[in-house]
């Protein structure tokens, strides 16, 4: 059923003044990278949305209305994200949008949603400044700025480290911003840095940097790297006889660490909004439902997408849709900020951020990070 029919039905129902159950559809646009390099995130995200949608609709939907997802591939590219957003907003007339997958794309496409006054809800954008775009921009992805200080603090307490060496990729926006956040956190905790070393994408050899770090007598290595370089870095460190703990950013929070640094992956601290090992009831239910629906384990990205769908459903339950698209889009936006939810990633609420001029803008996530330590090729929760 499309919007026109829904509108007709609503007008009909209102006109009659009767209690007619309106079994319409709530159209939600999903713009994620389903092909290309970023598909490794976009595909798990889609699976998370689909699982939550199935559960919500199976339980009767929202006020009897079923949620319908219009899923489009934005290929992890800025231009495509803009195109797909426009299609979902103006052609498909979606009530709100999820996505896009990458922060880079969100920088480009979220202003389109802001201008059209429709909610753009990111589940995987962690870069600074995305939600400063405007008050229609939301995300439930916890940023590294929130997670890294917690990781560092817990690791410092447990290992008793006094000084650290820092190693990061300086030609990648994500690892560079991780480095900036680590530096801030180190200053706040007053932990001195013995040496700061860098590497570049595609490097095969990290031993010169690691040798220097070894000679600097640090107690731990703070590492802002993607797993593609981070895995080999751990292997080469162990080959050089460096047994120090690693403290990693979100790039190192991936089970792929255990493939790329197999048997050399112990003693790595990472923080994450979600963990497979988190024994909370909501998380266990999510994991087993995901296994059943998709024949494989979920990851952090599917968990965040799954929770995001429930956050929106919770907000939708609080409001009454009028059938007028523009009004409904605004009503949903107004209902979201106060929405709280406890799901696979734990208790969640929104926090408003300011834009560049200090005026209130969009909404970031408030959520506690789970700190994990690797041992025997798996993560164990340490908090």
């Amino acid at each position: 059923m499309n919007w026109q029919t829904l509108v007709v039905r609503v007008i009909f129902a209102v006109g009659l003044g009767a209690e007619v159950v309106c079994a319409g559809e709530i159209k939600i646009g999903v713009a994620e990278a389903l092909t290309g390099n970023a598909a490794q995130y976009g595909v798990p995200i889609r699976k998370g949305f689909e699982l939550a949608k199935g559960e919500i609709n199976g339980a009767g939907g929202v006020h009897g209305n079923k949620i319908e997802l219009i899923i489009e591939d934005e290929q992890g590219k800025k231009e495509e994200a803009i195109n797909v957003f426009k299609k979902l907003i103006f052609q498909d007339k979606a009530l709100m949008l999820f996505g896009p997958t990458l922060s880079n794309s969100a920088q480009a496409s979220d202003p389109v949603a802001q201008a059209a006054k429709i909610v753009a809800f990111g589940t995987s954008n962690t870069a600074d400044g995305i939600t400063s775009i405007g008050n229609y921009v939301f995300r439930n992805s916890v940023t590294e700025a929130d997670i890294l200080p917690v990781t560092l603090k817990v690791a410092a307490q447990k290992t008793g480290l006094k000084k650290v060496a820092v190693l990061y990729g300086n030609d990648d926006i994500f690892t560079k911003s991780g480095y900036d956040n680590f530096t801030k956190a180190l200053q706040a905790l007053k932990i001195p840095v013995t040496t700061t070393e860098t590497f570049a994408k595609g490097d095969v050899d990290f031993k010169p940097q690691l040798t220097k770090i070894k000679a600097s007598n640090a107690d731990a290595i703070v590492l802002s790297a993607l797993v593609a370089e981070g895995g080999p870095i751990m292997v080469q460190a162990r080959q050089l006889g460096i047994a120090l703990p690693f403290i990693g950013g979100n790039g190192m929070n991936s089970p792929r660490v255990f493939e790329l640094a197999k048997d050399n992956s112990d003693n790595l601290w990472v923080g994450s909004p979600w963990s497979m090992e988190n024994p909370a009831g909501e998380n266990k239910r999510f994991i087993s439902a995901f296994h059943k629906a998709h024949n494989g384990p979920p990851d952090q990205f599917s968990a965040q997408a799954y929770d995001a769908m429930y956050i929106v459903a919770t907000a939708l339950k609080k409001i009454k849709l009028s059938g007028k698209l523009e009004a409904d889009r605004a009503t949903l936006r107004d209902a979201l900020p106060a929405t709280q939810f406890s799901g696979a990633t734990g208790p969640f609420k929104f926090r408003q951020v300011n834009d560049k001029d200090g005026k209130p803008a969009g909404y970031d996530a408030v959520q506690t990070a789970i700190v994990m330590l690797t041992k025997g090729n798996q993560y164990t929760i340490h908090k």
Binding site: N170, T198, D205, P208, K212, K214, A215, A228, G231, G241
Partner: protein, 293 residues
């Protein structure tokens, strides 16, 4: 720390030299900058990886398989691109641009078939022991890479200097027309050098993938850039130059990290290279554009 950095520099230099050997051979004989060499290097790594993980072959057999696959790629490269362009006497740039196209195609096919994510060889494939000599920690694999780079260079030099094929190859590098008049099978030799160079590239791919624990579609790209620098530094097409250039770049990178700072690594290493080329434009071993190979 100095001793360890020295060992790091030697093994990194070995890695670069190994890559540059095949690259320089194509240039020396065919007079072509083969920008698909990085992709063939990557192809070798994937071939060996799949031979180990899918076919369950031991490492030595996987290495042979990778050599066969990359040799075949070299044959196709010459048959499909270099040979027709030679026949039409296309200018220098044509084969170079064509190899860019080939490199992109190979990368896309591999990415489409095996995904863009990093893969690695099974951890138990090679003994992980590191050797401790005094303050130096070095793995057996690094020693093998260094030895193999030296050995392959020796074999190549010997082949070029002492065998009939080598003699013909040198004649070819001098002038294809004169060599043909002297009864040298020019086309066959061109193809042979493309095959040999690709085979070297494939072997380098396997060893470097083992060394860095990373196999991914774009792994040849950064190596290609450094390989070009090494080959130019050594003197285009010179075998000894490729080896020396490789070690030079290894030492320049490692010691700029050790004593200046890792953010300045590439600026220092390539700045030095630039300075050397200003003083000696033909490269360390180049003989002012007279003879190659």
């Amino acid at each position: 720390m100095l001793a360890q950095q020295f060992a790091n520099a030697v093994s990194l230099g070995g890695v670069y030299a190994l890559f540059a050997l095949g690259f320089t051979l194509v240039f020396g004989v065919l007079n072509v900058v083969n920008l698909a060499h990085g992709s063939i290097f990557m192809l070798g790594a994937y071939a060996a990886l799949k031979a180990v993980t899918l076919l369950g072959l031991p490492l030595w057999a996987a290495l042979l398989f990778a050599m066969a696959v990359s040799a075949a790629a070299g044959w196709i490269l010459d048959r499909l691109i270099f040979s027709p362009l030679r026949a039409r006497r296309a200018p220098h740039l044509a084969p170079m641009i064509a190899t860019i196209g080939l490199a992109i195609s190979i990368n896309s096919v591999i990415e489409g078939s095996f995904g863009a994510a990093n893969l690695r060889f099974p951890a138990d494939l090679l003994p992980a022991d590191t050797l401790s000599i005094g303050a130096i920690q070095i793995t057996w694999l690094e020693i093998r890479i260094i030895v193999l780079a030296l050995f392959l260079m020796a074999v190549l030099l010997w082949t070029l200097k002492k065998t009939r094929i080598g003699c013909a190859l040198r004649a070819l590098a001098e002038s294809a027309k004169a060599a043909a008049l002297l009864g040298v099978n020019v086309e066959g030799l061109f193809r042979l050098s493309a095959v040999m160079a690709s085979m070297l590239g494939g072997v380098a791919g396997v060893l470097i993938a083992l060394y860095s624990n990373a196999v991914f579609p774009n792994m040849g790209q950064p190596m290609l850039h450094k390989g070009i620098a090494v080959v130019i530094l050594g003197g285009m097409g010179d075998i000894r130059g490729a080896l020396l250039g490789g070690f030079f770049l290894g030492f320049a990178e490692v010691f700029s990290v050790a004593y200046i700072g890792s953010t300045m690594r590439d600026a220092i290493a390539f700045g030095l290279l630039f300075a050397i080329l200003l003083a000696r434009p033909q490269g360390l071993f180049g003989q002012a554009a007279q003879r190659r190979a």
